[in-house]
Amino acid sequence: MTDSTAPTFVGNLTPRKRFWATNRGTLIGCSILIVVAIIIPFTASASMMNVAVFAMIFALPAIGLSLLMGLAGQVSLGQAAFFGIGAYTHAILLTKFDFSGPVAATAGVLAAMFVALLVGLPLMRLRGHYLALATLGLGFIVMITAREWDFTGRTTGIFGIGRPVVFGIPIDNNGLFFWFVTPFVVLGIILALNLTHSRAGRALSAVNDSELAAESLGVSTYALRLKVLVLSAGFAGLGGVFYAYQVAIVSPQIAGFGVSVEFLLMVVIGGLGSVWGALAGAFLIEFLGEGMSELIPALIPGATGEVQLLGYGIVLVLVILLLPGGLVQATTALWRWVRPRLPGKTVPRLTEVDDSAVVALPKVSSPLAAGEAILEVSGLTMRYGGVVALDNVNLTVPAGTILGLIGPNGAGKTTCFNIISGALAPTSGTVKFLGRTISGRKPHVAATHGLTRTFQNLQIFNSTDVVGNVYMGRYRRGRAGVLRGMLGLQAHEQRSNRSVAHDILQSMNLTDVAHEDAGSLPFGRQRMMEVCRALAAEPALLLLDEPMAGLSGAERDVLAELLRRLRDAGLTILLVEHDVGQVMSLADHVAVLDDGVLIAHGEPQAVRNDPAVIAAYLGTDADEAEAELTELEGHV
């Protein structure tokens, strides 16, 4: 599988070739789908046609759910609620108010999205189990409302929905209906795939790896997840519209739990988070359902009613135990097995590194003149469970300087650091960055204004490669949101950001591992990568949490040198470090915490000679410690 030709730089290709290269997968898949869709009505039997139509209809809510579960990492047990809302709205507007087809359909989709917005505003703050249960509850509420309300026809529902008429042709058989639905499904797939590869999609993927790190790079988890929820409801609503047309009756059951479970099953069988998987899952489940209603009564005589239930339960358990990644996992494994055995030409490798360009220091922001206060900490206090971790800490950091925050173990350095970066809210006191109060607000707020950080325990994005991690750092410099992402209108922005990411890697000697899995790097290089990622955001203030820990002597020198040069270029740096000697040589100012109290703050020499600092740090009497410190300095 090796090729001897040098890789071609993406920027050198023509726009047409570039488009093909980045969208190859989507285009091939959609073309195949379209071809198959055209053929099916001619070749399938009547019952197969039935399966195919319902599969297409259900593919829409399934795709929406896969975006929600895979991309937004949220469990929803109530996708049928939005499906039902779309169906009911459309049906009611058609039958009771005589709206035209397209208008009623649009209203149906919008109604679903609107309810999702209403419900999502409070609920998207919730985690895991709670959100799942809330969506479950939502499904029941929708079903019960539909069942008890006269307007929605109570248990009978809405019936007598007419057939759609497209360009004068009445869609009155399964074949035509199949062709009617398919374009929408294809469009949906394209939008969903675009979203997955877009800035918003990567941001959500990053959140799934490490919400902490993503937030620190400016990702507003809540807002993004809410948008995906609304989007996924839109998909479901559209599915409901088609369902209403196909079945011509809408009854409360369609918003019920059983339907939500079916959607869940489709997504899980297809492979969580995979758009194509959702489509495959929809076909598989419909096919299975059809097959089971014939097979099971044959196997178990006298079994009637909801026999699919047994099949679904068994299939679900087996998938979870044996093939949790679903069909996607199966096909990927198959492909990996088959690929080396195939004859074929090697594909020219593309790279995003332009070797001919000259590499500069990563850019930084300097919104303030050197010396002006960029960070102001006042009266910062943190109390929890009777312990006072920080007691009335006051600190000002001038722009364009390096501040070292030191103190013995358990002094409150990390707590202070976490409050400044927004990961914790203080009990009282404020932190102001560039004049804005950032304390008590989520990390992404400060991040959007130019504050980034690294993590002592490393919060890398494991699901992407090294350059992918650094590329995420460019998030706050991008503009494209969910809408532009879906429409694929951000190629230029993505490209320029990726080349900046590569430049930064080059300046830190990480180019050789650019495409390695981030998780496979040795600790020291992972730390460097994290620093790169933070720098990619072009910050004005960089917070470093024990950046030297775990680095070799040479690596430390490189990092220290980089920090000095960045400081000279106008970046403000605040670092927490255990390594006193390192901090003394690097920092312009040093602040010392002991037991939550700021006991010294000044230039390194002054702090180093402060008796209070010596006593606190070394726990001995001042003279003896003085002598030892001199020795220490001598050996460093």
Partner: protein, 236 residues
């Protein structure tokens, strides 16, 4: 040798943190393992106690091979760990915390012996462990470890977040414990000063490997360790 670790390699996923680490502790002796952050000290204790599985190497406790065995078996074998951040059971009382320490002995452990070592706990027996101060929680955590009547006890940075006075109190107790009960004590510490005071032997871990070994007196003469002695600078 009571606790013998040889050729240990361990890590997290693809990342190997410990490379070929060998240490040994005998009954009645305290081995201090020091090193800066990221050196692998906690990983070492996790690997020995079974919380992570070593990739290769052997660990024996009084001639029983324990490498790779699940952590819940260790107390029964005679090895307890006093973990980083103490990890007391917050809503349970001090008495219950200690009682659970004797889980492998059906809850029948020598509470009086523990209270003897830590008289401060006598007044706190009914109090929920989560409401105690850091030092008291450390005492409960150590006491809990002792309730299983272990042969070897390992402590992960017991001095963190504690005032110097409390730290020396605890170190004193450890020294007493070690000699009275003839325990093998493996003490992982960042506070070189405090741990060297009571240790019989010491090992310096640096980036996952054993860098230096010897008695505290020997090691203190070395410039790198002198620098580290002050709890600040790095062994490079």
């Amino acid at each position: 040798m009571t606790l013998l670790v040889s050729g240990l390699h361990a890590g997290y996923g693809q990342l190997e943190v410990l490379h070929d680490v060998s240490i040994e502790v005998a009954r009645g002796e305290i081995l201090a393992v020091v090193g800066s952050n990221g050196a692998g000290k906690t990983t070492l204790l996790r690997a020995i106690s079974g919380l992570i599985k070593p990739t290769s190497g052997s660990i024996t406790l009084e001639d029983r091979a324990i490498a790779g065995k699940p952590p819940e078996k260790m107390a029964g074998f005679g090895l307890t760990l006093v973990p980083e951040n103490r990890l007391c059971f917050p809503s349970l009382s001090v008495r219950d915390n200690l009682m659970l320490g004797a889980w492998t002995k059906k809850g029948r452990g020598d509470v009086d012996a523990v209270l003897d070592l830590f008289p401060r706990l006598k007044n706190r027996m009914g109090q929920a462990a989560g409401t105690l101060s850091g030092g008291e929680q450390q005492m409960v955590a150590i006491g809990r470890g002792l309730m299983a009547d272990p042969t070897a006890i390992m402590l992960d940075e017991p001095s963190i977040g504690l005032a110097p006075k409390v730290v020396s109190e605890i170190m004193e107790v450890l020294a007493r414990l070690c000699s009275e009960k003839q325990l093998a004590v493996l003490l992982v510490e960042q506070n070189v000063r405090a741990s060297f005071k009571i240790a019989h032997r010491a090992t310096v871990l640096h980036r996952g490997s054993v860098a230096l070994s010897g008695t505290p007196a020997e090691l203190i003469e070395l410039p790198e360790v002198r620098a580290a002695y002050l709890g600040g600078a790095e062994v490079s």
